[in-house]
């Protein structure tokens, strides 16, 4: 079983590698904040800890964990969205704006 999870890890790493190498430098800053937002997934573990009611210390730690992870998630996704809005917003204006990102992506 542990090996199956290893498989999952390896495959996900491959996907990550393949995808990231295709992101144009243009979007590297949004990419950093996007991955940061996603790493907020540790919220999942925190929630169970905070709700499992296995003694005050655990619950307190869980509470702090939930708070911290939520900051990561909310802040992360919001700011990524703000950044990306700028890139989308500008597409209508200017001729080769469509092309610009294209070549960026294939670079």
């Amino acid at each position: 079983m542990i090996i199956t999870l290893l498989f999952v890890f390896v495959l996900a790493a491959f996907v990550g590698y393949e995808v990231i190498t295709r992101v144009p430098p243009l979007l590297h800053t949004p990419l950093m904040s996007a991955t940061n937002a996603i790493s907020g997934i540790s919220l999942v573990g925190s929630l169970v800890l905070a709700g499992a009611d296995r003694g005050t210390p655990a619950t307190i730690m869980g509470f702090i964990a939930v708070t911290a992870a939520t900051i990561n998630v909310v802040g992360g996704f919001l700011i990524t969205d703000r950044m990306l809005k700028m890139f989308r917003r500008r597409l209508p204006g200017g001729s080769s704006n469509g092309a610009g990102p294209e070549e960026g992506a294939t670079r």
Partner: protein
């Protein structure tokens, strides 16, 4: 085939971390959906126009995962959960909405710190709850979780401090530093290995966490402020690995997937950055590059040499009558937040028939794509932006280059002086242009702390002062013509 018989319990749902009933399956499905949405979100970042929607779907995925988790059998009370979610949102919202684009690296560092804090606390609590009764594989997973987590917490905080400026940006080095770091690192690893075989030694476990926290600090101390983005992105990958380890510990697949995604992308990005600075990854992390002395000395040594400084009036005239103008933005544009003014100036010049291009150096600013984000914010169309290779051979028929708060990325020393710390970094050959106007506040060096010959080039004119003010004056003058 025994395998077949073995499939039954599992297929019926006794995986690890999976409740055996329909609800358990449902939760797992939300995780699966979340994982897929995250991947699609990252893929969407290959298309600037599709990116926003993609990441919004990723956010939806996160929501799904949260809802799924809330259905979990083990969750008996919701008061603290709700409290945490509300408090977190209250703090996270302003962090997301009101932080200026220019402070992006700091913000990401802080965010890593919080994420890692969560992972680490979960790890510690898990260990504490098991009261030392930890099977080896779980112990290994927990160990990695708290190690990577703790290093990320303090490391990110240090990076934040250096970027924000309340911790010195210059590398802190002292005798025996490496020896000490290595010793500490070895000790930590030793404790970890021991714990795997004797998990029932809490004291050691907490000692390990402590060591990891210290390592985080010592790791970042000797790294220069200009290299923080590399560090931040590396810590991103650590945060990912911590999450993945959590996944292994509680047998949660979505944690593993996200962890692997972040781990890969963080590592890759930091390598790309080092490469763009033409420095080995090792050199960035252990090179103690850009120590004040060199730079300081260089600046001093050149203090008495002649520099042509100009006025907004003259510069405006010069620009107004150039046919081909190239703008070279750098970190200074971010500090001065003058991207909108720059756009305005460019439009004016274009109205007067000039062709205005922007030359974007891969490491201009403080993070990859930093300049792109700022210019995007100011609505500069993509097709005006040119990167190093595209524009470097065009400078010779450029009438005027406008260097806005850029320094290292236009420093000829990178080409000429092999002893220079930035030697070999590809730079923008602005000195090939007919005339160069440099906007900065002083003769101070850039982040690498290296003296810049360009400023003494007879073709160069310095327009001193805050870039924003300077640009605005230029705009007025050009309008006045």
């Amino acid at each position: 085939m025994i395998a077949l018989l073995q499939v039954e319990p599992a297929a019926a749902g006794h995986g690890i971390g999976v409740a055996t009933d329909a609800r358990g399956i449902a939760i797992q499905l939300t995780y699966l959906a979340a994982g897929v949405l995250f991947i699609l979100g990252l893929r969407s970042l290959t298309r600037p126009d599709k990116a926003q929607r993609g990441m919004q779907q990723a956010a939806l995925g996160m929501l799904l995962a949260i809802i799924g988790t809330l259905l979990h059998h083990d969750i008996l009370r919701y008061d603290w959960i709700i409290g945490g979610l509300l408090l977190g949102t209250a703090i996270g919202y302003p962090l997301g909405m009101f932080v200026p684009m220019t402070a992006m690296p700091q913000r990401i560092a802080v965010s890593h710190m919080f994420g890692a804090l969560a992972a680490t606390l979960v790890g510690i609590a898990e260990y504490w709850l098991l009261r030392g009764e930890v099977p080896r594989p779980t112990m290994a997973a927990l160990g990695f979780e708290v190690l990577f987590g703790a290093i990320t917490i303090t490391g990110s905080f240090m990076a934040f401090g250096k970027l924000q400026g309340f911790i010195t940006g210059t590398p802190v080095t002292y005798r025996g530093q490496n020896a000490m770091n290595l010793a500490l690192f070895a000790a930590t690893v030793g404790i970890f290995v021991f714990l795997i075989f004797r998990p029932d030694t809490p004291a050691l476990f907490y000692a390990m966490v402590g060591c990891a926290l210290v390592i985080g600090v010592l790791m970042v101390l000797p790294i220069g402020g200009a290299d923080m983005p590399v560090v931040v992105s590396l810590l991103n990958s650590y945060a990912g690995l911590a999450a993945a380890a959590t996944g292994f510990a509680i047998g949660n697949t979505v944690l593993i997937v996200c962890g692997a995604l972040d781990g890969a992308s963080g590592l890759l990005l930091s390598m790309l950055m080092s490469k763009a600075m033409n420095r080995s990854f090792r050199n960035v992390l252990f090179g103690a590059f850009g120590a004040a002395p060199e730079g300081g000395a260089a600046v001093a040594g050149a203090a008495d040499r002649p520099v042509r400084s100009t006025t907004a009036e003259d510069a405006a005239v010069q620009l107004a009558f150039s046919r081909e103008v190239v703008v070279v933005p750098g970190y200074g544009m971010a500090v001065a937040q003058c991207q909108h003014a720059v756009r305005e100036l460019a439009t004016l010049l274009e109205k007067r028939g000039a062709e205005v291009k922007y030359a974007i150096h891969p490491v201009a600013g403080r993070m990859p794509g930093h300049m792109n984000v700022l210019l995007a914010e100011a609505n500069v169309p993509y097709d005006r932006l040119f990167d190093l290779d595209e524009i470097n051979d065009q400078f010779d028929h450029v009438d005027a280059v406008l260097v806005i708060g850029a320094n290292d990325v236009v420093n000829p020393a990178a080409r000429t002086d092999p002893s220079s710390p930035i030697a070999g970094m590809p730079i923008l050959n602005v000195d090939a242009a007919r005339s160069i106007i440099v906007l900065k506040r002083s003769m101070a060096a850039g982040y690498s702390g290296v003296e810049n010959e360009l400023f003494y080039n007879p073709k160069t004119e310095m327009l001193f002062g805050d870039a924003k003010k300077s640009i605005e004056r230029l705009v007025q003058e050009v309008k006045a013509l």
